[in-house]
């Protein structure tokens, strides 16, 4: 029954996330044709030398990458839309729980049930992670389904690989929100703190590219070399576990 409760509490956030991310991924497929018509015009406005470091170099590389469908999808969907929105939805799915229930008044009923707080958090976490997995894997899979409609192909394996990358970092942000939700009863403060942490991670990625969280999430190494970011997976899994453990400990000590 706790599963049902966790599902009922998060179903609209999950369904919204799934629909929006799937529409975005599908939209990116259809954007490809329009972008291909614009790219030659863009090429003519960027004059050489547009290589090497600097903004012009970055733009030139972005144009170059997006010339083929695989590159376009990676750049538009995995590097930008699904990563950014995926973080937002992972955080939203992680928000809530007992403290939020305490604000609504129903926490005392929940706490009067013959279950431990760890069980409550465990079920909620498992439900949330399953939802994160679904919103990470399903939207990328719409791409190989829709690609033939515009005369393109996209590998299912590539979709799954990128979905996995989205999931691991998404799970980290989910865990961060779960932890913050054991300290704040509302949804806004966890959201705000997670936003600042995401901004910090983005800045860190510019300064130290090796610590690029969003490079892991976009599956950049897979796109460029075909290698999954295993070290990134392990690191995010360890960090997520630490955050969930802290969430359980914080919740255990909290008075209601």
């Amino acid at each position: 029954m706790l599963w049902q409760k966790a599902w009922l509490e998060t179903r609209w956030r999950f369904i919204s996330a799934l629909v929006i991310l799937t529409l975005m991924a599908g939209g990116n497929v259809y954007d490809y044709l329009a972008t291909q018509r614009l790219l030659p015009m863009l090429n003519s406005t960027i004059t050489p030398p547009a290589q090497g470091p600097g903004l012009a170099g970055v733009i030139a590389e972005a144009i170059e990458i997006q010339k083929d469908f695989r590159g376009f999808i990676w750049f538009q969907a995995f590097k930008q839309n699904l990563t950014q929105m995926g973080v937002l939805f992972a955080v939203l799915l992680g928000c809530g729980g007992l403290l939020s229930e305490a604000k609504k008044g129903s926490a005392l009923f929940t706490l009067s049930l013959p279950i431990t707080r760890k069980q409550l958090l465990g079920v909620r976490t498992a439900t949330g992670l399953a939802q994160c997995f679904a919103i990470a894997m399903i939207p990328p899979l719409i791409i190989p389904v829709l690609a033939p409609a515009i005369g393109q192909q996209f590998s299912v394996i590539d979709s799954l690989a990128h979905g996995l990358c989205l999931f691991f970092v998404g799970a980290l942000f989910f865990s961060l929100a779960s932890f913050l939700s054991t300290m704040f009863g509302d949804i806004w403060r966890p959201l705000l703190v997670a936003f600042f942490i995401a901004c910090g991670a983005a800045i860190l990625q510019v300064v130290v590219p090796e610590l690029g969280l969003f490079r892991v999430m976009s599956g950049e190494s897979y796109f460029r070399t075909g290698t999954l970011p295993w070290m990134g997976f392990v690191t995010t899994a360890v960090l997520a576990s630490a955050l969930l453990y802290s969430a359980a400990e914080t919740l255990e000590r909290r008075d209601f």
């Binding site: 029954m1 409760k5 009922l8 009923f109 049930l113 013959p114 431990t116 008075d255």
Partner: protein, 299 residues
């Protein structure tokens, strides 16, 4: 050592929230099978005590036991809650569920769930099964909360202000349902209230808490028998006295009148005579008198 016959026992229970001492030494002994009213003013510490008992808040110090098990042990407490029915003061349930879903959600947690009682109370309370909790009136929400507590097959029922916010007719309905239920079941009821009349109506034991401390506890009949009020009227202003007799609970001096509440009449008799008042008037006390005298600050 906790007796098997005690459903609830606390010894010198303290609870601090930040700078506020919510409990400052609560001692309770609630015998199994009793209906114990837990009286106190608003903010006296009733809800905090209940939260500590149910493991919702941790005691700063002291000991609390529920059905013989330590309340502070998370795993043991979860297990005890299988045998405890609880209604919180707010009666808040899950807004997004219907009454039917709420019952279906709660039922599997309690192996001793009473399907017969569920049926009885569903009809008796005339619950709108397909309406969402958020659309229910406070009175109906209280009835749903009560059904969810009563059907657990619990050995102990803990109710925090069960009639708070209800109109008198609805409050009476709830109390009658409670009395009717307890009459047919072997269980202990511990309910907090600041409504003296309802405690007087259904309780056989009472515990009074004030400013986080237990000021009085025991069987109601025993308290009524032991407690006496003596009013001494003097020719002039009543003297400021320090009474040495055992059992003196409270002394109030107002003009020519000295009012003494005692839980032991005999030793006090000789001492009050020695004060040479104009008149001495002994009278029995009501629960209201006992409560007010117990929580009133001394003049």
């Amino acid at each position: 050592m906790v007796s098997d016959r005690l459903a609830i026992e606390t010894v010198d229970l303290w609870k601090r929230y930040g700078d506020v001492e919510a409990l400052r030494g609560v001692d309770l002994q609630v015998p199994a099978g009793s209906i114990c009213g837990f009286l106190g003013r608003n903010g006296a510490g009733k809800t905090t005590t209940i939260k500590v008992l149910l493991g919702m808040a941790r005691a700063t110090r002291g000991e609390a036991r529920l059905l013989g098990q330590p309340a502070g042990d998370a795993a043991a407490n979860a297990d005890i809650r299988r045998r405890v029915g609880f209604v919180s003061d707010e009666k808040d349930l899950y807004d997004y569920m219907t009454v039917r879903e709420m019952i279906a959600f709660t039922r599997p947690f309690f192996p001793r769930w009473r399907a017969d009682l569920e049926q009885t109370y569903r009809q008796k309370f005339e619950l709108p099964l397909d309406r969402e909790i958020k659309d229910l009136s406070r009175g109906t929400r209280t009835k749903v909360a009560l059904l969810l507590a009563l059907c657990r097959g619990a050995d102990l029922l803990i109710l925090d202000e069960p009639t708070a916010g209800l109109d008198p007719a609805m409050a009476e309905d709830v109390l009658q349902a409670l009395v009717g239920h307890v009459a047919g079941e072997e269980m202990t009821v511990f309910f907090s209230s600041h409504q003296i009349a309802e405690v007087d109506q259904i309780a056989d034991h009472v515990a009074i808490i004030d400013a986080g401390r237990t000021v009085l506890a025991g069987p109601l009949d025993d308290l009524r028998e032991r407690y006496q009020r003596v009013q001494l009227v003097f020719a002039g202003d009543a003297p400021t006295v320090t009474l040495l007799s055992p059992g003196v609970v409270r002394v109030n001096r107002q003009g020519r009148v000295l009012t003494i509440l005692t839980r032991d009449r005999d030793p006090l008799m000789a001492e009050v005579r020695s004060l040479a008042p104009v008149s001495i008037d002994w009278s029995p006390v009501t629960l209201k008198d006992i409560f007010l005298e117990s929580v009133r600050t001394e003049d």
